[in-house]
Amino acid sequence: MNKEIVIAGFGGQGVLSMGMTFAYAGMVENLEVAWMPSYGPEMRGGTANCVVILSDQKISSPIINEFDTAIILNQPSMEKFESMVKPNGEILFEASTILSPPTRNDIRQYKLPANAAAQSLNNKRIMNMIILGAFTQLNPILHDTSIMTALKKVLPERHHHLLPINEKALHRGKELIYR
Amino acid sequence: MTEPLIEPQHIQCENLDQMDQVWTRPETLIDRKLHYCPGCGHSVAHRLIMETIDELNIQETTIGVAPVGCSVFAYHYMDIDMQEAAHGRATAVATGIKRVLPDRIVFTYQGDGDLAAIGTAETIHTINRGENIVIIFVNNGIYGMTGGQMAPTTLPGFVTSTSPNGRDTHTMGYPLKMAEMISVLPGAYYVTRQAVHSAKSVRKAKKATLKAFQYQMDGKGGTSFVEIVSNCPSGWKMTPVESNQYLDDEIFDFYTLGDIKLPPKE
């Protein structure tokens, strides 16, 4: 198993922390993991992205330009990363923020109303956990318990009271795929 | 280098064993011929520091830092552990030492080119942090070691090898009064300006040096800064006597002697 994922969106959408949660959860599952952020001035309000690699073998290059999965949370990122998804790969994207959906027909596309789902749970900031839930439903490589263990590491302790709502979001994301 | 006029063994003295000893070389001042020019104030300044170290009995705990300048070889004369620092960086080096060995006594011995030109940033920030060290600042208004170029402290109109028509303040700026400048920093604990050109001034400078080291040992305040306004007969193109006279006639009008900042309690 070797999963190469890019997560991209605006700064503040939780792009980097979502990737970190992936990586932590992978480590909990004893996988080899690497998390590589885009860093620089764009961290402050502009676009942000990170690459996560989960593998059952030693990871060679953390620098890649082809992905199995792209999780796209804004339009500029769609334009940047659509072409970098491997044939037969997948794009998960947030429904309300993407105006022009992907045009390729050699990849799977999942349009996820994650912002709406987050609003229905009364917490806009759990949008990224909903997407993460959808990803794990599509790619059963990370157990929910590992993700929750990971989240405990990623979330600062003062936010630990938000763990239950995040767990709910994880399940809500899975349901988006059931339907 | 000129030889001493009188070799010590030629001094004839009767009833030597019956006399009180009133003067001797400090134990920590190494018995070696100084490389300083005749009449230069460095040798007296060295002596005052080593007398202080003897009196406070801190040879085993003192580390000195001497950067580039005429006094770069200070470790040839001071029988203590020493580090030679890059030009301008003495107080940074001293900071490094003091931070990892906070119970040691650390001092720098710097000239005016070092402390007030190339090392101005380090000087200000070290004192602003209130590093508990002693800075001995020997200010002779010239770059002595490199052959008498203009220093940041050179007085207006003064002729040097790089201000051949005298320091023109319009194009070369004004002399920096470092002691006054740093005295406004909260980290400066004790700031004083002294001289070593006369018996009276030497006695005062000694007192100031002793105080500065004592303050560091007490460990209550910040940085102690002892400026010694000195001469440079070679660089000034004067005889030692003329240079001392010049200090009295011109220099001290600009660089006023005396304490500039005292610890709060005094």
Partner: protein
Amino acid sequence: MSEKLLMKGNEALAEAAIRAGLKGYFGYPITPQSELLEYLSHHLNNRGGSFLQAESELAAINMVYGAAGAGVRTMTSTSSPGYSLMQEGVSYIACAEIPCLLVNVVRGGPGLGTIQPSQGDYFQAVKGGGHGDYKLIVLAPDSVQEMADFVYLGFDLADKYLMPVLILTDGALGQMMEPVTFPDYDVEKNKVDHSSWATTGKLTSRSQNVITSLHIEAEKMEDINIHLQKKYKTIQENEVRYEAINTEEADIIIVAFGLVARVAHKAMENANKKGLKVGMIRPITLFPFPTEILLTLSEKVDQFLVVEMNAGQMVEDVRLAVNGKIPVDFYGRMGGVIPQPSEIVDKLIQMDSSKTHSK
């Protein structure tokens, strides 16, 4: 061995430094190494050391000179422009033979450049960097784990040879997160006695210790140089480290260090899937450079390909090692751009086919 932790390269390096017995850290903020400074500002003072944010890199390296001269484990970290600013101090430290650890988290240059990763400081790192004839031991990690491991190694080598050791890494390795475990390292057991030279206060039982790089007589200064060169020769004989992969069957050998070695590794795998025969040498010590293995391989393989994130710096050392025996090709990206595995594969295919044509 510690539990497995997920950490940024910069943070792993900082944590390892504390575990290795770091006593003095002096640094100045610069992207992309600031996490290192920040991590130590949070943790070093509580864990037996002294952290100080200096007013400049110039001050920082001289604080290192002072503290390391007091005989304790001392380090600084910076990124390219800051490292340039430190060079005078590094030269002094090398001459005065003071052990310390330096970290350059390289970013793209020249000038203010970019904050993206680069290997453009290779020459500066391995050829000295400042004025005069001197060398540093240069370690090039390629993973977050090595970012930690090389701190212990770096301090041990610095103490052994009384010289600065440089960890040459880059912005991407500094920023990326990977699992890391910290080895059990006994600080006391690895402590080297520096009392014969360190300035800690002159006890009456010994003569004064003086740290200086000033030796005004030319003959004396030459003696110092001879001594330093002898030391560097010993290091060349004893401390070369590299990783060799697939070298037995290879037609083409890639030579790459640091992060680029990871990219090149993937390119090698992909190229071999396409039927090429590619192997790899990853220099771990950039000084001392793994010259001998390259010379040996030059008698077995057809070509070398050096891949770097610069205009071609290490390639000169590879060419010196191979001494014209076989072609040494180069592929590089500059200014903060990281080469992709696919670019390297394309280059390998091109090299392989030109070789076939010439046959």
